[in-house]
């Protein structure tokens, strides 16, 4: 019996050592990545708000995430007396577990995917990441506090409603490929020579809005709305548990951006991947890196202390090394086979960053929705629009295949479809305004029941 178990384990390891290793690396590195995303967010926020942001820990606050992590780790772990201990313990773990697990399905470049070529690809990512909702709901309930409970009620209602819209948007995107396999989706975009965001712009828009709501980001950050519910479901959490929630939130951001990138923005493909005329775009990544390195070098003499100067030099060196790595597949014929992997990774991360940047930009710019407005937007605007969009995209595809259209010529049928969807959207909006004008002071009462 013992031997059989050992045998099974060995078999398992022999088959799956590579994904396991990748998984370990992701679990180990992701907190760091998230930490730096938070730093970038704070820096961006500072930039937009006419201030400097973190500057004290390391040059330009570059070591701030590490300091924050240490602080969170050594903080006292408080569990409220009347909390449900088991659930309180379980909830953040669930949240983070679901978020990390869903990363397994993502493909960062054609070469790097943990769970390779799963048949249900994108559904796996979406479905597993949706399980994170349990962490939020149970965490809020277990804290035994009214603020937490309201936060988790809000969040479950919000997630359930916006998941529908996001799912429908994904369906209209998937109609274009006819497969769930992530690799096949990107390859379809390569073969068509066009990103699906052009063919299904309305679906992309719906997914954009719904993904912001799903990750509880402003302007849909009601479950943790600071000014209303203190911190929503996280109110009673502190120290490491709290940071787990934080980790989950930012990981979810990465996940939704990756899904959008894969399905709508051409995944790891360079812009105009099949057009030789645009081959010069291959030099953009190394040049970008060299530019960053140059900027760092330029700023080095202005750093106040020697340590900081060295640090800046190190960053510049790192960027230069990256530039070399990115340059190699383009310049050296020997390294040509590495092109897809390296440049694919670059473009994928670039697009994901752009998507996340948009999230952050929104957060600093616009106020927060009220809960009834959020529900109305979800149920009365996004969901009908997404259903209509699925229909029109389907019809457009049938018409397109009837005329045997491919690639850019598909725009001939999908653009009218998008316009129809937009007109419907405007009609829905107009109708909504008419109906809400009469009851401006009486916001929908039963939004929890949704």
């Amino acid at each position: 019996m013992m031997q059989a178990v050992i045998q099974a384990t060995m078999d398992f390891l022999k088959l799956y050592w590579a994904p396991l290793l990748c998984g370990l690396v992701i679990v180990a590195v992701l907190p760091l990545i998230v930490g730096y995303i938070v730093l970038v967010e704070r820096k961006l926020m500072a930039d937009m708000q006419a201030r400097l942001g973190p500057m004290r820990v390391g040059p330009h606050g570059l070591l701030q995430p590490i300091a924050d992590a240490v602080k969170l780790l050594i903080k006292e772990d408080i569990i409220p007396d009347n909390a449900d201990k088991l659930v309180f313990w379980l909830a953040p773990v669930l949240s983070v577990g679901a978020a990390l697990l869903s990363i397994a399905g993502l493909a960062i470049g054609p070469a790097f995917q943990i769970a390779k070529d799963i048949n249900i690809g994108i559904l796996f990512v979406v479905g597993v990441s949706a399980m994170g909702i349990f962490g939020i709901v149970l965490g809020g309930w277990a804290s035994n506090s009214h603020y937490s409970l309201m936060g988790s009620l809000r969040s479950s209602a919000q997630l359930v409603s916006y998941e529908t819209a996001a799912g429908m948007a994904l369906v209209s995107g998937l109609l274009l490929t006819g497969t769930l396999n992530i690799k096949a989706i990107v390859e379809a975009q390569y073969n068509e020579g066009i990103w699906f965001v052009m063919l299904a712009p309305v679906a992309f828009f719906i997914y954009l809005v719904a993904s912001i709501a799903e990750t509880n980001r402003a302007p849909f950050d009601l479950p943790e709305a600071e000014s209303e519910l203190v911190a929503g479901y996280m109110t009673e959490f502190s120290g490491f548990r709290w940071s787990l929630y934080f980790l989950a939130e930012y990981t979810n951001m990465i996940v939704v951006s990756s899904v959008a990138t894969t399905l709508f923005l051409g995944g790891w493909l360079r812009p105009f991947a099949r057009v030789h005329f645009f081959n010069f775009l291959d030099y953009v990544p190394p040049l970008l890196m060299i530019g960053v390195a140059g900027y760092c070098l330029l700023r080095t003499p202005k750093q106040p202390s020697r340590v900081q100067q060295l640090f800046m030099l190190a960053v510049a060196g790192l960027c230069l090394a990256l530039a070399l790595v990115l340059l190699a597949p383009v310049a050296l014929p020997i390294a040509k086979p590495l092109y897809a992997g390296i440049h694919g990774g670059f473009w994928f991360i670039f697009k994901v960053s752009a998507y996340i940047y948009f999230f952050m930009w929104l957060r600093f710019t616009i106020p927060r929705y009220r809960f009834d407005q959020l529900m109305r937007l979800g149920w009365q605007f996004l969901i009908p629009l997404s259903i209509v969009n699925v229909l029109v995209v389907g019809v457009a595809l049938i018409v397109g295949s009837y005329f045997n259209l491919h690639g850019w010529s598909m725009l001939l049928v999908t653009t009218p479809a998008a316009i129809i969807a937009l007109v419907v959207a405007l009609m829905i909006l107009a109708a909504g305004q008419q109906s809400s004008a009469g009851k401006e002071n009486a916001p929908a009462s039963d939004f929890y029941a949704g």
């Binding site: 078999d11 479950s156 359930v160 039963d446």
Partner: protein
């Protein structure tokens, strides 16, 4: 071998959490254990190479229905509910029903393995490599042979949706 280990892990998990679900006093704990049982079942589906069903189970059952359950449990406050007696005085009925059911199932399983050609067919399942891509196959079957059933199911869901809205609506 891996198959077997996975099955035993998932099956054990499913039965254990099922039992815990039925015995916990606290309804939220029950719901959590039901979620575990459902996830374990999803694992069984995966072990049976039903990938599509696996993810549907997770999205719909775990991510949809169970969230609804927990939501409702939170709405109908637990503090009150916990003070009430959670178990009906039907232990004996339950025992008898359970025994009868297990006897029946046991007999069936036992007899079917005894007598070849009757009950459960002693077939060898096709190897996993020969199966068609799962979601495509399910889709073809769903929108081919079972299109009418699919439509009826959608009507059922619509009816349920309307019913739920009417039911949960506040009387003004």
């Amino acid at each position: 071998m891996l198959d077997k280990v996975l099955f035993y892990i998932f099956a054990g998990l499913a039965i254990a959490s099922g039992a815990l679900m039925v015995t916990r006093r606290n309804a939220v704990h029950s719901a959590i254990f039901l979620v575990t049982a459902l996830l374990a079942t999803a694992g069984i589906f995966l072990q049976l190479r039903a990938e599509f069903l696996f993810i549907v189970q997770i999205i719909l059952y775990v991510g949809g229905i169970m969230v609804l359950f927990i939501f409702v449990i939170m709405l109908v406050n637990l503090d009150v509910a916990l003070q009430q007696i959670q178990f009906a005085r039907q232990k004996w009925v339950a025992l008898i029903v359970a025994l009868a059911l297990s006897a029946q199932f046991g007999l069936m399983l036992w007899s079917s393995e005894k007598i070849p050609g009757q009950g459960i067919p002693v077939l060898a399942a096709p190897p996993a490599s020969e199966l068609p891509a799962n979601s495509e196959a399910v889709a073809q079957s769903l929108f081919g042979n079972y299109l009418l059933a699919f439509e009826i199911a959608s009507v059922l869901l619509l009816v349920a949706m309307i019913g739920a809205v009417v039911m949960a609506k506040k009387e003004k």
